[in-house]
Amino acid sequence: MSALLQVRGLSRHYGQRIGCEDVSFDLHPGELLCVVGESGSGKSTLLSTVAAQLAPSAGTVRYRQRDGEWLELGTLSEADRRRLAREEWGFVTQNPRDGLRLNVSAGANVAERLMALGMRNYSQLRGIARSWLERVEIDAARIDDAPTSFSGGMQQRLQIARTLVTQPRLVFMDEPTAGLDVSVQARILDLLRGLVNELGLAAVMVTHDLAVARLLAARTIVMQGGRVVETGLTDQILDDPQHPYTQLLVSSVLTT
């Protein structure tokens, strides 16, 4: 199987400070990769840099488009970068309020990406928005309600619907469950797991929660101080951690 995303020697510095340093990995179609590490380990910086939201200080990110062409993300124009973000990628932020348009209805939030792709049939947009709300377990009767009237968990599910409605090939997720109650987390993780399987999405997910990695990801990258300290099969990393930092991380978890 050929990779969808190739990251090679990727670094991002903030002046003298290291965000992430010399990171390499491949992501295959249909694969969910978790990046774990504590706060400040550089995982969010890595995610933003891979998603071309931050310019790398060194290294390359290559992405294979729907048409099979390889794109070197560092050389993309702003227009191409936005086209990719619109047509082939999705990004789910930790705080749903950063990823949603709060001053328009839930339905418009879901339909926006479709309209950006040129869909101009209102009833069709409504129909798709309704079915996606149901898919993320939001009552379709709330399609015209403002997201501000939703609970945190509902807002996050709405953000997921808004992101996945265009059936992106690659989704970046930054701690999508971190701000939520444990019971709400489980529901969202289960939902994500189902959607990832069903849609055959490839995804890179940043999380500090090893249980999330265990549940969702076949492969995991462990980061510390901006560098990758261990990478491999998720269950191997959690059950037979090699690096001292990973061992500390695993032994610090109450239950995984």
Binding site: V104, G107, A108, E112, M115, A116, R120, N121, Y122, L125
Partner: protein, 279 residues
Amino acid sequence: MTPSYNFAFLDEDTKRMLRRALLKAVAIPGYQVPFGSREMPLPYGWGTGGIQVTAALLGRDDILKVIDQGADDTTNAVNIRRFFARVAGVETTEHTVDASLIQTRHRIPETPLREDQILVFQVPEPEPLRTLEPREAETRTLHALADYGLMHVKLYEDIAQYGHIATSYDYPVLVDDRFLTSPSPIPKFDNPKLDRSPALMLFGAGREKRLYAIPPYTKVESLAFDDHPFEIQRWEHRCELCGSAESYLDEVIVDDRGSRMFVCSDTDFCGDRRAEAQA
């Protein structure tokens, strides 16, 4: 003419700056050109953008007409017309057919315009995406990339809330298949008049310091959904003064008991029709 002012109030260097900006605006239909807006002797929101464009265009032979919501006899229209009569000494008129330059607030005359006429709009908010996207840097990028899905979010919200596209004025248009543009707060009734108009249309926003243009015979398309096409307002009434069934009507309360009548918003158009009927 008051002699202590330069012709048409603004100094010649300022007019040159304005004309350069206007040329650029005409060259890129619908694109918002920044310009160095001057303090004018009237408050922002009263037409400081339109008045600067008019000042930059006026020649001694021009015949100026000024309308406010279609009427020649309302405060804003009277003041601006009188202003240019004093500082430029140009001839003024209330007749659309006689005017070479028409400054307008929120209407396009009912009488079809000609190639030898210029229409100048007063614009309070030139950015059609502003209510949805407050960041100027972001709206500029969206224009640069012609990334206009966002505008349909607003129309979607209209239909979701009211069952139809309820936006009735300042209805967004796409100019020359390229730039999303605010037609200024004209009623959407007037939007079809923008499309392939023989007259040059210029737009000035004084507070926001932007100019833009729709050159003659340019394609102007009002946005819509396939299953909710663009539609203009219709009335069950005719104008009670001239009997017109084609013009944009204002609803006027005529006494303390709340009696209402519908009359043409375009006073010149209505007057002409009545004069014709009497003749």
